[in-house]
């Protein structure tokens, strides 16, 4: 079953190059993605705590880099998964780190999955397409009940 409406993705990422790759990949897709970008953890946290903007945009999926400034991705992940309003939203950790402590810590803090960023641009674009295809076309997201 596919989503009929807009697919809202929250991207928490400070690297402008990575933001461009991810946004371009989503825009070139045939699906209707709406990407909301936060370049630091603090603004992202404020967004999730501001119920008006958060409820209006109805985010389906969070793509989270671990090394964003102000509040780190690790802290933001913990916050999202400890908060009853946000813990159900799937969080895809997308990080350059292949370090097993980062991977384990992310899963212990209930990241829904951990994916490393490829260095090659085509591989990166391909991974973004696989991520969105998996989460929006294979998986049932919690917001699905509000969309159907």
């Amino acid at each position: 079953m596919f989503y009929q409406g807009k697919r809202n993705i929250i991207l928490v990422e400070d690297n402008l190059f990575d933001i461009k790759i991810i946004k371009d990949a989503l825009e070139k897709s045939a699906e209707n993605y709406n990407t909301i970008v936060f370049k630091d953890g603090k603004t992202a946290k404020e967004y999730f705590e501001n119920s008006d903007a958060f409820l209006a945009e109805n985010p389906h999926l969070v793509i989270l880099d671990l090394t964003v400034p102000n509040i780190s991705g690790k802290e933001l992940l913990k916050h999202l998964k400890e908060n009853s309003k946000t813990k159900k939203i799937p969080v895809v950790v997308l990080s350059l780190s292949n370090y097993s402590n980062d991977i384990c810590e992310s899963y212990k803090n209930y990241a829904n999955c951990y994916i490393t960023k490829p260095k090659d641009i085509d591989d990166f674009i391909n991974k973004i397409n696989i991520i969105t295809n998996y989460w929006f076309n294979i998986v049932k997201l919690p917001k699905a009940i509000e969309l159907y």
Binding site: M1, K87, P90, Y110, Y114, V139
Partner: protein, 149 residues
């Protein structure tokens, strides 16, 4: 990961050399057979262990009795409608979380920190396809945690 019944379909598949230890918690013989066949057809190596109710799943994961020497799985495919203890109760137990106030299975499972919720396709080809998509994503794309950490 939670798999529940209904329909669906989708993408491609790649090869991998990892041996993945999968625990399938499923009481329906037909679905067990389909999952085995789908994994057999894939070009990656896996070890599939099957338990048929929620109590056995927890005994397996706690390495009780005959499961003492079993390795913990890399991935759990968990049906929700299980005898003795249902999938939600198993999830509650393994993720050690609080109960959800929502009536929806989807919401409940995400609130209990399931990694994802997938509906079981009724159609055979779709079923094979979904299992392959799960493989592709969790084996080729995702980094899983090492179990000794």
């Amino acid at each position: 990961m939670v798999i529940n019944e209904t329909e669906n379909s989708i993408p491609t598949h790649k090869s991998s050399s990892k041996v993945l230890n999968i625990l399938l918690v499923e009481d329906n013989e037909g679905d067990i057979r389909l999952t085995k066949e789908a994994l057999k057809e894939s070009d990656f190596e896996s070890e599939l262990n099957v338990v048929k109710d929620g109590v056995e799943a927890l005994r397996y994961l706690h390495k009780e009795g005959e499961y003492y020497e079993k390795n913990l799985p890399d991935l759990i495919l968990l049906d929700l409608n299980l005898p003795k203890k249902n999938g939600i109760e198993v999830l509650e137990s393994i993720k050690m979380s609080t109960t959800s106030s929502s009536n929806s299975d989807i919401l409940k499972t995400y609130n209990l920190y399931a990694n994802c919720f997938i509906t079981k396709p009724v159609d055979f080809d779709d079923f094979i396809y979904i299992v392959k998509c799960i493989e592709e994503f969790w084996i080729d794309v995702v980094k899983l945690p090492s179990l000794n950490k």
